[in-house]
Symmetry: C4
Subunit: 386 residues, 4 copies
């Protein structure tokens, strides 16, 4: 609903994960009856959770492990895997830096040029043993990497930047022509990120196989703090899903919506799908697993914008294995583990036996904040493993 | 009221305890004029507060003590009382564990098989001296325990799981048929938990003697964080109460509504009843009493879901006796003690001399958060007993 | 505005101090043009701020000092001034208690019986030198104290309890008949506290000279936490003011509204008057002055309810003199000092040169919470006196 | 939208920076295509960010440095630059004070009389080398300083007080006649601060060259806490912009709106312009630069009101150079650095290639609070330079 925010000017109200909750169903399912699989075109995946193209989340080893569990992790072709042969020494260099030097160390690391042979090698390594290989790059590098990726055997190519539109204006350089790019590549192309109905539709028309949704989802997001830009994910996902449904009705082509960003619990993932998503993309959660590149550490990558470099290093774990992160058992009861298990139980509890059904379940606007209680509860806890 | 949360999609607004407040009456009562009694069928209870079926709250001793005060506590037949003869050594084992081992110790304890003779023995022990005996189990164990419970003399049987509906679909096992279950048992059956008008009505039709209301009531609830599912209790209670009133009008049978979960103060309890409840179920508050199983400790029990085990141990007290918790005097002024006394004084102050009248008192939507002030106030306090 | 909180049930939205802000005027005044005086019947006061009848705020000495500054402080006849001859030893006993004993020490102190000769003596002492003397008691003691107070020379009698209505039902005792009480006493009677339009009107009809407004104003209020009862002060004040205006229109008698409770800054006081109040009653702020009974300490008094005793001792200062608290200069910039000066400057800035005009100034609903910023700002502060 | 806050009384809802977010565009620009310049009459500036007239932000040296970068900083003629010849010893005196003395030291410093020769000298020094010189004073001193300033070569005069209206009533002194003042001065006059449509219009009519908008923008603002007065900046800016557009339509004269106060990130600045501002005025951010008067320190200046003195000293840095603050690179990713760079990238991302276009971009109402998450995230950060 729109409200007046100043004389003569209206703004629409938007909603994020913490503003809504799922309403239990009048019918429930045994969790074993629940099918959480989803498809991109003809490709079918058991796990509707994608590991995000972040260097602290996915390297060759992690991508393989993730593929074996029925989903896929995305390797960032602009990242350090394409810059260094020996990644372990890079991880060590970051982790052993002094507090005051970390930022510049990370910024230094990302100045190392990308080597095309490393791009090729990474992809081949993931493919070994028949794993599914998804890779990504920013629009600026997409044409350069796409050919290499395709010929090296990649199964999926993702073009991703913070804010992506079908129309980008520059006098300095030629913007990526998504129509041409999608039709030229033989493997499916996922494009993102966007948040509006209109841009979702325009990107679908370029031939995208799926759309990534999410820009500045939370109040504490860098995009929201630095640029002021952001749309909470429930609204963004719902709008994109409406575009998908309209596009499917008009063309018969179903282009799945992948909610990317802002989810930290199984509950958030369940809400994203209930809001209309076909799958979700998650980063930090997987950085917390023992299988992640530098287990327990996560960091901001260099972005395409030289004006807004990031270089923070965060310790986030490791708190469990990838299996425990996906299917449990969880030893924390805050929803940050057993993400797939929680999603499936959530679906069972609201009476949705498939992702398609889950997209139609009832959401309620529920007050989200009771800071004090939350804090107290945590402080009193005894006997947690950390 | 419903609002658009995304293009073409509406969600209803819901309310929790912290979102509302009671409006004082234009008429007030002497507290002695207030009658807080309530009934389940022909059973009448002076205390409209039930002690929840949690192992950190109720054991045989606690159930007896609670019954003597005019209410009832529910013994969890799936819990440790049914698994171990010598509970005191179990409590000791938990409490003496190291921080990092507690979770696995608790999970280990709940792997001990249930012994039917212990179920029987617990019930008989509670009944000794004519106490009221209420027991509970999850739907999966309900048929197995119901017979034992009834023959051992239990007065009330509660079938309880996180999300309960009249219709549950599984190919692996036969879901509990509530119709059959209720008609077969001679003692009244309480079923829960649910939160919607429709499910409340469907469960009433199966023959339930009362309905437990409450799923993921607070933002910090495990169910809400893990599964994304939850309805704030004022809305859930009001909806269930509307179903009760409709059912009573149609059938002449009055099936009381018991609000379960999310209440930590006398004020919360007063609000639950003002929202339409006949009684409330409370857990943590009683774990804080000196009469509780492991005085001052509370822990997450094993649930029926192997995917989402809980095993946290929290120190919550002990802060007072059961008498002080129910009827004061309170030495804390935050509403966490003297729960029944506070409810009665609240009723007197809004001009309600019975639970039925209290259900009709005016609620107001009141802003709930002023974190900083709250925190400051507490920090400055001098001379509190702890 | 009312919203649905559950099926078929509506609740009205209410507003507190933190939810609103004053809108600056299109015309401003020199602060010297502002007249903040107000009247109760024929009694006129320069200071529209009353010191609350709390033992940590007002004793004989404080009441005299306050009267000299053009306002009045209320002596609590149910308090320790009426129980002990030598108060200084009582203050010392409290302050020298160990943390864990304070509550019981305070509770013990309030068990000392009230002595009528002390009541008389206190009033005479305040009156010495021509000071204004206002006293208060709970309804139960009102008839007993009123006669003594009047004959000892008190100028104003306040009957005050947490929730007061014109109609109170009890079989045990005879409720105070406000009609009789007001007409029998020759000095004006102020009655409180109430929060609704209807009760305000009913109390006005009994002959009250002014009405105290405020029950459970804030989310952290004891009344709200313990009993669940409370109406935020902007709404409560506005409703009571509407009753006052209606009553004045019908009868020609102007019964001022005094907002009592929940104000901690000059801004809150300005908002209370903008919401419709004629004056405000403030407690904690004055406990912080060097002139207060036990400078810098404040405590919960015994109330009439034995079920909900209070006995907490809080250190709140001393932070300044009474003069600084009323008219500055303030050395803190958070609004907690210079209350009258701030009110006057606020009036000047919104273009209100009298209390009557201030009651008509525009209020805006303004978002109230930005916890983190607030906290950060404070932590970084250097060089504050404490 | 207006809502009832009490019986018969409505209040309008208002919005601040944290309540809204920008919606990404369906078209994006290369950041090099973005033009962020703006004009006051014929004066054109590349930088739409003005450094506020605060003694902890601007002195002669800082004003020169800022002018060289294409914008302007305002020198406060009521401040210490006009009171002391040797400022460095004043800074040292403040910074070396003990915690408990700082407030009185600052208050003492501001008692030093203003010397007209210092006013003149400061302006001449800024002008040296052709810099742009903007100066300010409170209305009381405006006539006295304006002549000196103009003859000393100042380019712009700002009359600024907390709440400014075209009509001010006093019997003690003659209020500044803005009509006369503006027509008498040859250099443009900026007037502020105001927040309403009506006052903005009235001030424009007096001949103001631009209007400063902002009174008590945030919940933690001194003005809001002390006086209760304040309008969140999105609403205030939008209302003032509506007045500007109306005035332009009627008169053909475009009087720019400058949002002043409450912005701490690039995102906030982007939102202010999206709400309708032509430029913004920022204080604390520049106090954090190495070029600021007392690098890293910021303090409350003496105001015109003797009743509400301020004298707090806050350490805020230094965290970077002025260049880094304006155009990066930023080493913090929270938006508090690279303010102009962030604004330009924000404009590029929402598809606005000019300030005029940015004023029309879509805003969304987005939930602003997720305190806990924010806090946690920060605590876990490793390797930040401070």
């Amino acid at each position: 609903m729109a409200e007046y925010i100043s004389k003569g000017r209206k703004a629409r109200k938007s909603y994020g994960f913490d503003d809504v909750a799922l309403v239990p169903g009048d019918l429930t399912y045994d969790i074993k009856e629940v099918d959480a699989s989803w498809k991109i075109g003809d490709l079918e995946f058991d796990v509707p959770i994608i590991a995000a193209a972040m260097d602290g989340v996915v390297n060759v080893h992690f991508a393989r492990e993730f593929s074996k569990r029925g989903g896929f992790a995305v390797l960032n072709l602009d990242g350090i895997s394409s810059r260094f042969e020996d990644l372990s020494s890079i991880y060590e260099r970051m982790l052993s830096s002094k507090r005051e030097e970390v930022t510049s160390v990370i910024q230094e690391i990302y100045k190392e040029p990308i080597k095309e042979e490393l791009v090729e090698k990474s992809i081949s390594s993931i493919k070994e043993g028949g794993n599914f290989c998804a890779v990504s790059s920013v629009p600026q590098n997409a044409e350069r990497f796409a050919e290499i990726a395709e010929s090296a055997g990649a199964d999926l190519f993702i073009v991703q930047s913070t804010v992506t539109t079908a129309r980008h204006i520059s006098k300095r350089y030629k913007a990526l022509d998504f129509d041409k790019f999608c039709s030229k590549l033989k493997i499916p192309v996922i494009i993102g990120n966007c948040v509006t109905y209109k841009t979702t539709l325009e990107l679908m028309k370029t031939g995208a196989a799926a759309i990534l949704v999410g820009i500045g989802p939370g109040a504490a997001c860098t995009t929201r703090q630095v640029l002021g830009i952001g749309v909470p994910q429930i609204t963004a996902t719902g709008d994109a899903a409406a575009a998908r449904d309209y596009y499917f009705k008009k063309t018969g082509k179903y282009v799945p919506i992948i909610t990317d960003g802002g989810m930290s619990t199984g509950g958030d993932i369940a809400k994203a799908i209930a809001a209309g998503a076909d799958a979700v993309m998650v980063g930090s959660a997987f950085a917390k697993t023992k299988e992640s590149p530098a287990p327990g550490y996560h960091w901001g990558m260099a972005t395409s914008s030289e004006n807004l470099p990031r270089g923070t290093l965060i310790q986030v774990g490791p708190i469990c294995t990838l299996d425990e992160m996906l299917t449990g058992p969880a030893w924390l009861d805050d929803g940050t583990q057993n993400l797939l298990g929680a999603l499936r139980l959530s679906m069972a509890s609201v009476g949705a036996d498939s992702i398609k059904r889950m997209q139609l379940t009832e959401l309620i606007i529920a007050p989200s904040i009771k800071t004090e209680g939350k804090v107290q509860q945590r402080q009193q806890r005894v006997g947690m493993g950390k």
